[in-house]
Amino acid sequence: MVFLSGDRPGSRPLARFLRVGVAPSWADLIAFLLLAATAVLIVRGAGEMSEPLSRLRTTPVTLDVARLPEYALLTTLRMFAALGASLLFTFTVATLAAKNRKAELLIVPALDILQSVPILGFLTFTVTFFMGLFPGRQLGVECAAIFAIFTSQAWNMAFSFYQSLRTIPNDLDEVSRQFGFSPWRRFVRLELPFATPGLVWNVMMSMSGGWFFVVASEAITVGNTTIALPGIGSWLALAIERQDMKAVAIGVGAMAVVILLYDQLVFRPFVAWADKFRFEQTASQDRPGSWVYDLVRRVRWLRLAVAPLGWPARAMTAIDWPIPRLALQPVRLGPQTSRVIDGLWIAVLAAASVAAVWFLWTFLARTLNLQDAFVAFGYGLATLVRVVVLIALTSLIWVPIGVWIGLRPAWAERLQPIAQFLAAFPANVLFPFVVVVIVALHADPNVWLSPLMVLGTQWYILFNVIAGASAIPSDLKEAAGIFGMRGWQWWRQVALPGIFPYYVTGAITASGGSWNASIVAEAVTWGDKHLEAVGLGSYIAKATAAGDYGRVALGVAVMSIFVIAFNRMLWRPMYRFAERRLRLD
């Protein structure tokens, strides 16, 4: 999901839909195959390198409240480590895609697919891989956890950056070339600042999703090995295992405090600061505010205290890599030659695709047969039904509420941050409460576990709808009032068209997140009680617990295909319709 910074509270995902066409293209297929083969290859290589997981020793996590701040800090550090890695990935890969047409042909569809892959399914692979890299050490597991968060953050950030690089205003590009900017200066002075607003909003969305994964990835069971990294996620896992409701509540409270602090102390100031990079020549009316940012700007000693934060930026602009003044004349290729090179590139890709197909086939055929594929597909349908029903239900609930709030600016102003906070809050820490109730009432897990999937993701629908309803121009509202439009006509002709683009954005995020959440929501545990709903999520979860790589790979692949197909067949056409017909500007 990629968000434009233009509409602040409910940003629109743009880039993913920019590529025209609903039908899957060859590029998608090739990217999919290559990615799948690479993933399997890594796991196999790592498997050979790794020592048995059981030999790993980590400091045991305890339910000692005194250690909770430390755990919270470690969890937060993991988040930021992953964010750093994501930024690095963004700056390199997205830049490559934007500057090199041949790389672009592969990277863009690959990012598009990676956005849709259920990250939690990856955990098995990544843990195996990183444990193999650092056998017997906690660092390996740390890396695996950080990598899991990275995979939930990086793709949309890279997409946003790529999109920004491709839409650099022509005149600024000309100024930079006219003054002979070096590539570094161009990056620092033009590309990075121009991309900043979009990037900041995507970082925010990434971080929101990231909390979910950091919690899920700290305590992992692969095969008969359980790894628990010190952190809030492990605290919760232990509390669940011991059926300690009080400890669960404390953990949830700690999580809430962490997110609140992060939001107020880090994120909002950052967004307020980034506002100056917005590419517009007129000052906008409602600038994002942050009391911390204002405070820092006003209080002298605070300003001095945070001044070091500005040093790297200043250093970046000050250094100028002594680029050897080589006459870097771009080699001018005749149309003939460049056609030959294009042909070669396509041939290489084709060969790689064939190799990927063969490799995947031999890998999967060894452990699986066609029936497994059918089974996985059937489970996929079950989860699909859940996702569709739940998104429909939550839409029915939150659209009217969101519109009601959005039309009342005083309410919207107060409730919007809460909705955003709830979206960032990792819903998986709340699962135990629901599970306890289900266990106590002996309810059918097939039905009652389902709401867990949207527990965290429904808020995206709410805050986007609020944003959409607030954005309905007041003259339209006044016109509707003068002509006495009310009831169904008002919804049909004013409210629904007004919020539709925003709603689609929220619903896409919510449905993608729900697919992902199904892996933890369809199979839950409370002490020694296991609850399971039939679906692809529990299929992957079970295969992970059993260390069955083949089925994990199959499950993840099937889920990716479902998500991609769902996006292409439902969301993308809806989004394009919204872009074409329902834009209010």
Partner: protein
């Protein structure tokens, strides 16, 4: 400053430029353009939009590599190269940098040390009348102030030649006038340290007001069709009869066309037949223009400069409207005059429905693409045709954007004339009226 160097500052020889695929059917925007720039002169490149004058300016700035031809700076050598600097129509300021940082940007790229950068930037800011705004961000400034920043930024790198791409066209009339005057003052007093200015404009009066020499460009493809020396002393007065005469003269030249093209309406717009690239001109604007010309004081025939003044239009805005009317055979353009045809007079006098009928007849008869679409719809029993089909046809003959613009223009005209209907969601042309 001993011997006067009589070499040109700039030589442009046989420059041609094609947009689009090399080798394939690209669009010729510059055809065989020669230009020399001497010391101490302001030269204006005057032409319609799309006449390639901006392309020429960008070629000189080194931003575009022309397809063929040579651009050289005979005066420059290794020790003191000829430097060019550019002012942009859209100002092209970095919104995240302050005024001072924006001005310093060119020096920074040249690795000038921070102290010198600062003092030179302050001097330029001072020169251009921006003192006090050093720490402001562009979005806090008015358009005129922003263009001053653009000017300071261009001047601070000490250029030999200053290139300006329609520097005043994004500004309102009063601001533009102030900025022009200030710039001319600085130029006449020789305080900018530049040898020569080359500016692109589509505003005829601006060219006559500022330039020592005006090169008039024709469009499709861009060629220099006239060179006009402006000998009026500075400061020039717009009301001066010699000034007015020169403006009239240029109007006449810019509406003059190759007589061979006259008959078929071709040559008005790039391309032939259905491949003609059409402008998007609103039917309301056309009606308004016909009404104005028909009414007093014009009585059916108007001198274009007078008309432009009466309507507060610039030549560049007026020409596409007038030429669309000419294409529709509702007006004739000649020697800087516009004359309504009989049908146009009938149109002005008629009621709404009759107006639409007259417009529809002319649209089908004289706009080849409209006639073509109508014929296809008439021939089909379903009276329906996908718009994609015509878009494809157009894209064979012109660029994608031009095709889009042309089709949109024709759709607007046809909807007004009720000549045929267009269903946007189905992307379909139909004959039936939505009733």
């Amino acid at each position: 400053m001993a011997a006067i160097d009589d070499r040109h500052l700039l030589d442009v020889k046989n420059v041609r430029h094609l947009y689009g695929k090399p080798g394939g059917g690209g669009q010729l925007v510059l055809d065989d353009v020669d230009l020399t720039l001497f010391d101490n002169e302001i030269v204006g490149l005057l032409g319609r939009s799309g006449s390639g004058k901006s392309t020429l300016l960008r070629s000189i700035a080194g931003l575009i590599q022309p397809t063929a031809g040579e651009i050289s700076f005979p005066r420059g050598d290794a020790a003191s190269p000829t430097r060019v600097s550019m002012v942009f129509q859209s100002f092209a300021l970095f919104p995240w940098l302050t005024v001072q940082e924006n001005v310093e940007v060119g020096l920074e790229a040249k690795r000038v040390s921070p102290e010198i950068r600062r003092s030179r930037a302050l001097a330029a800011i001072d020169l251009i009348g921006l003192d006090g705004f050093e720490n402001a961000y562009p979005k806090e400034l008015s358009g005129g102030m922003r263009q001053r920043v653009g000017l300071a930024r261009a001047l601070v790198v000490d250029p030999t030649i200053l290139l300006m791409d329609e520097p005043f066209s994004a500004l309102d009339v009063l601001t533009a006038e102030t900025l022009r005057t200030d710039l001319l003052d600085l130029w006449c007093e020789g305080r900018m340290g530049i040898q020569s200015i080359l500016m692109v404009t589509h505003n005829i009066e601006e060219a006559v007001l500022m330039c020592d020499r005006i090169l008039v460009f024709s469009s499709n493809p861009g060629r220099i069709v006239a060179e006009i020396k402006v000998d009026l002393p500075q400061p020039r007065n717009r009301q001066n009869p010699a000034f007015r005469k020169m403006v009239d003269d240029i109007y006449a030249r810019m509406t003059q066309r190759n007589p061979a093209d006259e008959r078929k309406g071709d040559g008005l717009f790039p391309g032939m037949g259905i491949g003609m690239v059409l402008p998007q001109v609103s039917t309301n604007v056309m009606a308004g223009l016909m009404e104005t010309v028909s009414g007093g004081p014009f009585d059916g025939k108007a001198h274009l400069p007078d008309l432009a003044e009466a309507l507060q239009y610039e030549a560049d805005e007026l020409f596409p409207i007038a030429e669309t009317l000419q294409l529709l055979r509702l007006a004739e353009l000649e020697g800087g005059d516009i004359k309504l045809t009989q049908d146009a007079q009938r149109y002005v006098a008629a009621d709404v429905d009759t107006r639409k009928q007259i417009f529809a007849q002319h649209l089908i008869a004289y706009v080849p693409l409209a006639g073509h679409i109508r014929r296809v719809l008439d021939e089909r029993t379903s009276h329906k045709a996908p718009a994609g089909r015509f878009r494809d046809e157009l894209e064979d003959l012109m660029s994608e954007e031009d095709a889009d613009q042309t089709l949109k223009g024709v759709i607007t005209w046809a909807r007004y004339a009720e000549a045929f209907a267009y269903d946007e969601s189905a992307d379909l042309f139909t004959l039936d009226d939505p009733s």
